[in-house]
């Protein structure tokens, strides 16, 4: 039980990714494949965001305090107060990549439909053979 509470995010990530991966490989409708692809990528995004999350922490900008003569006060910086923003920045890029892939995939699906008049992979393969 403690394991589930400690690693709740990661368990959900694994479930989401497996749903996505299964859909990409097993479903025969092309649009469903693309939706599964988006789910798979969302799983990875959640994975990265989870690893950067930190309770009671803030963005890594040091707030400078001043005394009454406007001189900066020397502060002790506590690492535990600041979260690593790297993972979120990485995921911004990954989201952009994901959107581009999805858009390209949908455009391709449109072309496939106008070519074969079907979105079912099995039917398309049957019509080709």
């Amino acid at each position: 039980m403690e394991f589930i509470i400690n690693y709740f995010n990661y368990i959900i990530v694994v479930i989401i990714m497996m749903i996505g991966l299964w859909g990409m490989l097993a479903l025969s409708n092309l649009v469903k494949k693309l939706i599964s692809m988006a789910i798979f990528q969302t799983g990875i995004i959640l994975f990265y965001i989870s690893m950067g999350a930190k309770i009671d922490s803030s963005i890594p900008i040091i707030k400078q305090a001043y005394d009454e003569h406007h001189h900066p006060i020397h502060q002790v910086i506590n690492n535990a107060d600041y979260a690593n923003p790297l993972t979120q920045i990485l995921m911004l890029t990954a989201i952009v990549v994901g959107v581009a892939t999805l858009g390209l995939g949908l455009a391709l699906t449109q072309k496939v439909y106008s070519e074969h008049k079907s979105l079912n992979e099995d039917e398309i393969l049957e019509s080709l053979s």
């Binding site: 990714m17 991966l21 990409m24 092309l30 494949k33 692809m37 798979f40 990528q41 990875i44 994975f47 990265y48 690893m51 690593n84 790297l86 993972t87 990485l90 890029t93 990954a94 990549v97 581009a100 892939t101 390209l104 995939g105 391709l108 699906t109 072309k111 496939v112 070519e115 074969h116 992979e121 398309i124 393969l125 080709l128």
Partner: protein, 496 residues
């Protein structure tokens, strides 16, 4: 200027890609000219970098002058300097070659083709240069997205083939990203050198093992190692000629390079071989890939599709060589990246010329092709001999290193598979020689016409790149010892 050469290799084509579309709206031919100029400049910069690496050793270029673990850095050592130069030269050759073919196959999409073409090469150059694991993912996706668009420029079956490639390619890239995530949790760093140092100082955990596995599987999907190869043959066969000429030599080889880079400079090569001990399994996979690729190639009666299955077999060579775990095997694998890049390019250029003149690539329609297109077939034969492994060409030397590596590691199945593959290649190419040289042309009596009328060669702008590539194949073969001594051995001294 010289100090900035590493970044200019990537920035030049990236910026040029924008201008190629704009200038192409005014006059499509100009976008072709601009592409060639771009790749000439890129080749010059990569040659400067290569020369500097040979003289002074590894170059570290920090983007924006941010110090290494925090900023992104480009690390150019002996191995990737050579591969960057190869990519730039292949890009230049295919750009020159594509003029007539693009006009015939793509019509009004010329500026878009060249823009995507340049972006694709930008992505591949970036993958090879970068020393940052996440940066590599982004560039991997840039090259993948542009390649989907380029493959789908063709019509008919290309769409569904490209769609399958898109799904498989995305799974591969996502697995790589997942592996990088595991590494980030374990080491807190994305810089390859930094990760290498941190992992070397610590006993490796299961999480690192999982990261390694994810990255390897991702790359195997991207490079089409046998059980994961299903996307490659159809996608490359139904693509426009110029696209397949560019993708076939570069995409899979760059993935192999990423695998070598991950094995040597991110994870510890000694750890992989002495602690994990997976080499027997992976080399067996490579053996299966070589045999399966060869058998599938034998079954094809379309020349272009046959070549795509040969790519699958060649991937087996490189994966097997890298996983033999000794110096000869690694030399063979890294040398074969260059050799196979130019070999595949040479064969695809020749097939492109044939398709341009005859209209399809069925082996049965190639009767009398040696009298019809003699210059094309000279280029084709040089490529074919290199695939088989006939001495002055580079194919012989990479096979020599791989076989000595297999002997040293006592990997007999791998050795047998290499020999069988050579034999199958010989059968495949002699079948074409048989049809093209000894069978008469259809509906035509060879005695009735003077030779001049039958002679129907591809345009000169397609023949020069082909013959240049054929010359490069022999040139690489003749300078093998120099390449190995000045480039591959210093790399192995650093990492193995």
């Amino acid at each position: 200027m010289i100090e900035q050469a590493p970044i200019l290799i990537v920035v030049t084509p990236l910026l040029a890609a924008l201008f190629i579309t704009i200038i192409g709206l005014y006059r499509p031919l100009y976008s072709w000219v601009l592409t060639i100029i771009t790749f000439v400049i890129t080749s010059i910069f990569s040659f400067i970098t290569l020369k500097k690496v040979i003289e002074t050793g590894t170059i570290r270029y920090m983007l924006g002058n941010w110090p290494a673990p925090f900023g992104i850095e480009y690390v150019i050592d002996h191995l990737n300097a050579l591969i960057v130069f190869m990519i730039a030269v292949v890009g230049l050759i295919v750009a020159i070659y594509s003029k007539h073919d693009v006009k015939k196959e793509l019509g009004d999409k010329i500026p878009h083709f060249y823009s995507l073409f340049t972006l694709l090469v930008t992505g591949l150059l970036g993958i090879t240069l970068t020393g940052d694991a996440f940066n590599l993912y982004v560039l991997l996706e840039i090259s993948a997205l542009t390649s989907y668009a380029l493959l789908a420029l063709s019509k008919g079956r290309a769409y569904i083939a490209t769609f399958n490639y898109l799904i498989m390619g995305t799974i591969g890239a996502c697995f790589y990203l997942l592996g990088v995530g595991y590494l980030l949790i374990n080491t807190g760093s994305l810089n390859m050198t930094d990760i290498f140092v941190i992992l070397s100082n610590n006993p490796t955990s299961y999480a690192v093992l999982v990261a390694f596995l994810f990255i390897m599987i991702g790359m195997w999907i991207k490079m089409a190692l046998f059980p994961l190869h299903s996307w490659l043959p159809n996608a490359y066969t139904y693509a426009p000629t110029s696209t397949s000429c560019l993708l076939a030599p570069l995409m899979t080889k760059v993935s192999v390079y990423v695998m070598l880079r991950m094995m040597t400079s991110v994870f510890n090569y000694n750890y992989i071989f002495n602690v994990l001990g997976w080499q027997t399994i992976i080399v067996s996979l490579a053996v299966i890939a070589i045999l399966a690729g060869s058998i599938f190639a034998l079954r094809q009666d379309n020349l272009k599709k046959m070549l795509t299955y040969l790519i699958v077999a060649e991937i087996g060579y490189m994966v097997g060589g890298a996983w033999l775990g000794n110096a000869n095997g690694f030399t063979g694998a890294s040398y074969h990246i260059i050799a196979d890049g130019f070999m595949t390019l040479c064969l695809f250029l020749a097939v492109g010329c044939i398709i341009y003149k005859i209209g399809d690539a069925q082996i049965s329609s190639m009767k009398g092709i040696f009298t019809k297109m003699p210059i094309t077939m000279i280029g084709f034969l040089v490529g074919a001999f290199s695939m088989i492994g006939v001495p002055p060409t580079c194919g012989f030397f990479s096979k020599w290193y791989l076989i000595s590596g297999a002997y040293e590691a006592q990997a007999w199945p791998f050795m047998v598979a290499l020999l069988i593959s050579s034999l199958v290649n010989a059968i495949l190419f002699f079948r074409i020689i048989e049809v093209g040289y000894f069978q008469a042309m259809p509906n035509e009596d060879p005695e009735a016409h003077p030779k001049q009328q039958k002679y129907n060669e591809a345009p000169i702008s397609m023949l020069i790149p082909l013959l240049t590539t054929a010359a490069i194949l022999i040139g690489i073969g003749l300078y093998t010892s120099e390449i190995v001594t000045y480039l591959i051995e210093p790399f192995m001294d650093n990492f193995l």
